[in-house]
Amino acid sequence: MGLFALSQLALKLFRLDGGMSGTRVEGGRRRAKAAKRAVALTAAAGFVVVLALVRQGHPASGASSTRNVPQSTGSSSSSSRSSEDDSSLDGGTLAPPSSQSPPAASHTS
């Protein structure tokens, strides 16, 4: 009796019983469900981690990964911005304002 229980446990451990009690279809469904849950959780966790990473990259935090942060001119000539326009900023001193909008932004809300 004890040997039978042990063998069943071994089968389950090594997933030789298919990893589940039902059919192969049931097993597939269960695996898909578990995988979808894992993907959703990983995406949510990844989002939080990336959010922290991009915040750490803020010049105010001392990191330098945001060297290409767009220039917030706040003027009417914003259409002339390009990827090169922050090249003279010595390592990226510009970043999204942490607490306020650009000084001369045209929005009113």
């Binding site: 597939g28 469904r29 995988a35 993907v39 290409n68 304002p97």
Partner: protein
């Protein structure tokens, strides 16, 4: 508005790209009829669809938070019309193209039966264009493109998709030789 919109937009874009890569890899596995132990085809298809839906959700979050953001001042036109953005027009245009093609692929999935398998499949191949455009968009428009962790993500993504496509092409060439 605070800088959180800007950070959220960037984080959502990165996660959407990682999910898109995962979806492409699963799609290539499915197309190549790869046999995974204990994973029936329908289960892989189910996960592939879920990853695609989640990608769409994060893309929408990316776009929505960009519209809210007062830092770059992205307009609806800039999101929908390639080249209309004043911020890094070319790189943002690639994102717009990727977004619209992704929407087209998504819509084609809804009309799969009506389109027929061959036509649906041809449209579905556009996902590769979406992925390529998203990669270049992220590298060019992403303000964190120079960060080590993001470079690593791009290297892993490009490497894995290239390897998967090479495997798929190789498997297709070998198939007639076997038969």
């Amino acid at each position: 508005m605070s800088a959180i919109d800007w950070y959220t937009a960037r984080a959502a874009g990165v996660v959407a790209y990682a999910l898109l890569t995962g979806g492409v890899l699963l799609g290539v596995l499915l197309a190549g009829r790869a046999r995974l132990p204990c994973w029936p085809q329908f289960a892989v298809t189910d996960v592939h669809r879920f990853v695609a839906l989640l990608t769409g959700a994060f893309v929408l979050l990316h776009v929505y938070t960009l519209l809210l953001d007062t830092y770059v001042h992205t307009s609806v036109a800039a999101v929908l019309v390639p080249g209309a953005s004043s911020y890094r027009p070319f790189w943002v245009a690639l994102g717009t193209v990727a977004l619209e093609l992704l929407a087209a692929v998504g819509i084609s999935n809804l009309f799969r039966k009506r389109l027929g398998h061959a036509r649906w499949r041809r449209i579905h191949y556009l996902t590769f264009v979406v992925w390529a455009a998203a990669t270049v968009h992220g590298m060019g428009a992403g303000t964190d493109a120079g960060a080590g962790w993001l470079r690593l993500l791009y290297v892993v993504s490009v490497g894995s998709v290239t390897a998967a496509v090479a495997w798929r092409v190789g498997a297709r060439r070998l198939a007639p030789a076997r038969g």
